[in-house]
Amino acid sequence: MKTILSEQQVALTVKRLAHQVLEQHLKLDNTVIIGLQPRGIFLSDRMVHELSALVEPASISYGKLDITFYRDDVRTELHVANKTDIPFSIEGKQVVLIDDVLWTGRTIRAALDALLDFGRPSKVELCVLIDRRFNRQLPIQPDYTGRAIDTITTQKVKVFWKEKDGTDCVELIS
């Protein structure tokens, strides 16, 4: 087991990602933040918290998207669904999708399908805490990356969040 990000590094990385998103979008009046259920929500909650210190909190549109029914592995494994909560229109908006780990790209593929059922955004960007960059099975790349790491498929990356797991850190399990 190897620590990729310590508690302090997680905090700094989240702060940086929030600043990078703001750098691209400046004002968030035409941008919506969408966290992916279940574990992307911890990151998106933190980022929205950081962003609300930088811009007018009322200007942030923040939703949560569950992709369970859009997965391509329904036949092999059933997952428990979570709540989707997008209380605004995404039509013509710039969407920043947020997830904890980008690995094969299949979750993001499903998320794009799910997202398009809510309308036609003008642009979709992807923000992840960890990018396992050499394991992609689909042509999907992040726009904002916390830390890119090189892993082999048999390894596991585990992201711990204080709210759920009692501590903030990212570990590589071989």
């Binding site: 569950d66 997965r71 059933l78 669904a81 979570n82 709540k83 059922d117």
Partner: protein
């Protein structure tokens, strides 16, 4: 996470966890049904046959819509205009349909136990959409979903099931489910339509006076008189049944408390339920129908993975 069973033959075979999983998944599907695109691609590689050997409007449409909202391909079978009318056996019909690469069977049959029989002979997942006087599991699940939506929980909820208990598969499935989920159950109706020993067998209260039942309950699930299953006269006339056991606005007002009215449909207006009650503010009959699609989506989704 999956169900403990491969088929949905009856509530009797489900665990409490199964019921909770179906109901919580149905909540997610109800959300899907409120969206601009009321459809998800989960079952796009699944073909489902709706095998209806007995008439149905609500249940068949509800299943068909649920299948379409999940992107499944559907086939519809009605016994009256099929080869069953030429004498083909149930097993032959189903095996022929399955040889065309069909993955799941939704089935209604007038013989109790028909889906159980089928489940021993075919590999596909079977969902019971009502078998004779035995069970109608998806109806009980959608009734539970509608009650939870209104009351938050089934625990300790007082539910009176009123009417033709003897011939009702809705009653039996509801009793099994409500018992597993901790509700209190009373059955009420004429003595000829309530099975003997039902208290000993199922642990429900019995009441022959509808007014007393209404005074006791929070929810009244009113059932249809199943004339097609009664081969001897069990009460003198529909008019008399209405006078003694029918639920009217006047009767409800005389109780002096709010009671939620449910009915699985089709309603015989003026027999078990008067129109001003069926369409009144305390009726959640149409919510039941709406929730039916979400609940059936959950069942189909959860059984498709096995």
């Amino acid at each position: 996470m999956k169900l403990s069973t491969k088929h949905l033959l009856g509530i009797k075979d489900l665990t409490t966890e199964d019921i909770q999983l179906i109901l919580s998944t149905a909540t997610n599907f109800k959300d899907v049904l409120q969206r601009p695109v009321k459809k998800v691609p989960s079952l796009r590689d699944v073909t489902i046959v709706n095998l209806f050997y007995e008439n149905s409007t609500r249940t068949r449409f509800s299943f068909e819509l649920a299948e379409k909202r999940l992107s499944a391909d559907t086939l519809n079978f009605a016994a009256s205009n099929s080869s069953a009318a030429k004498g083909e056996t149930l097993l032959d019909t189903v095996n022929n349909i399955l040889s065309m690469k069909v993955d799941m069977v939704v089935m209604r049959h007038s013989a109790s136990g028909a889906p159980h029989f089928l489940s021993k002979h075919i590999p596909a997942a079977i969902i019971n959409a009502g078998d004779g006087i035995n069970e109608h599991p998806t109806q009980a699940l959608l009734d539970a979903f509608s009650m939870i939506e209104k009351f938050g929980s089934l625990k300790g909820l007082k539910v009176a099931i009123i009417g033709d208990i003897m011939h009702s598969r809705v009653a039996l499935s509801n009793i099994y489910l409500l018992k597993k989920m901790g509700a209190e159950i009373m059955v009420a109706g004429p003595p000829t339509l309530i099975p003997k020993y039902i208290t000993e067998a199922l642990g429900v209260r019995v009441e022959y006076n509808v007014k007393n039942a209404l005074q006791w309950c929070d929810v009244a699930n009113v059932l249809r008189i199943q004339l097609e299953r009664q081969n001897q006269p069990l009460f003198s006339s529909l008019r008399e049944y209405n006078l003694a056991y029918g639920i009217s606005r006047k009767l409800l007002e005389s109780i002096g408390k709010e009671i939620t009215i449910m009915h699985p449909g089709p309603i015989n207006r003026g027999v078990e339920l008067d129109s001003d009650v069926a369409d009144g503010p305390s009726s959640i009959v149409l919510n039941q129908v709406e929730n039916g699609v979400a609940v059936r989506m959950a069942v189909l989704y959860l059984l498709s993975g096995t």
